[in-house]
Amino acid sequence: MSTWDAQQDGVPTQYVVARVRDALAHDARVAALDLQVRIIGSELFLTGMVSSDRRRDAAEAVVRREVPDLTIHNQLDVLPVDAPSGREEIS
């Protein structure tokens, strides 16, 4: 089955992915345009980077609200924010 043919409740999967990504962009707790959403069968994989554990949890909540029937795999990473250990000489 191609991506185009895959359906969620009669809606092609790619439209569901677009709807979820749009929700992630517009929910004030997340406001992220760069998170990746992939749906395979009844499973949704959420990947990318966020800046806090709270934002990671909020993103999952947004996805769950949009597609409550899917099994969600929240694979978001929280960004490391340590000071750099080195520097670059630009020549």
């Binding site: 760069d34 980077m49 800046s51 960004l79 490391p80 000071a83 750099p84 520097r87 630009i90």
Partner: protein, 237 residues
């Protein structure tokens, strides 16, 4: 030698309070100036910016910034610029600033920049007014950047943008969204005016290092690319 620290896309908000403070407190030990490459906030609100300014309190070096697309989301740009100015962070948009670093001078010209794509696969200011406005906006900002860079008579010159000036630093970003990530017009402006370094953000899945067609080093300092609180670049005039 001038040590330039840079980071973009910190997307600060209350939930991330405290995450950057430690690294910024150490910044004056390793850098002479801090450049912020846009997307300072998540939704462009004063509350979010106040969180970032608290994080920055220990970064007691000259600080220069451009805004990013997220900083426009709540239509509070004027208020954000005032807050930044009051906190000693100079916002650049089509203009330049000069910083004295131990007798050497660093000039930074900045613009948010905008999209449109890259040479050979880009939008044109042709057809509908919306399309003309889209590409025209980038063209105006790029022209302003060129003039600002050309006005600098400093030992070192850096261009600071949010949107990308080249494809090199887009890394793993999907080809389909390149036109929303930057424009060759920004790179062309930098090549025309000359610079020692270009720093930008916006492309979270990008790569750190690139070069303009004219041979000027480009660095994508988006936080998700660096995976550290900032990068430090050393430049000789």
């Amino acid at each position: 030698m001038i040590r330039v620290a840079a980071v973009g896309d910190v997307h600060m908000a209350e939930d991330a309070r405290g995450t950057l403070r430690g690294a910024f407190d150490r910044l004056p030990e390793v850098a002479d100036v801090l450049l912020l490459a846009g997307d300072l906030t998540r939704l462009g609100t004063e509350d979010e910016l106040e969180v970032l300014l608290a994080e920055l309190r220990g970064a007691t070096v000259p600080r220069l910034a451009v805004l990013g697309n997220h900083d426009f989301e709540s239509d509070r740009v004027d208020a954000l610029v005032k807050l930044l100015d009051r906190a000693g962070v100079q916002v650049l948009e089509g203009d330049a600033a000069v910083v004295d670093v131990g007798g050497e001078t660093l000039g930074v010209a900045g613009t948010k920049g905008f999209g449109g794509g890259f040479a050979g696969a880009c939008g044109s200011d042709f057809g509908e007014p919306e399309m003309k406005a889209f590409v025209g906006h980038t063209r105006v900002l790029a022209d302003n950047l060129r003039h600002a860079l050309a006005s600098l008579r400093t030992d070192v010159r850096v261009a600071l943008t949010h949107f990308a000036p080249v494809k090199d630093t887009l890394g793993a970003e999907r080809l389909e969204i390149y036109p929303f990530l930057g424009s060759y017009l920004l790179g062309e402006a930098v090549d025309a005016a000359g610079a020692d370094l270009v720093v930008h953000g916006h492309a979270h899945d990008g790569a750190e290092k690139g070069v303009t067609p004219g041979g000027i080093p480009v660095r994508n300092v988006a936080l998700p690319v660096l995976k550290t609180a900032y990068a430090v670049y050393c430049l000789n005039g």
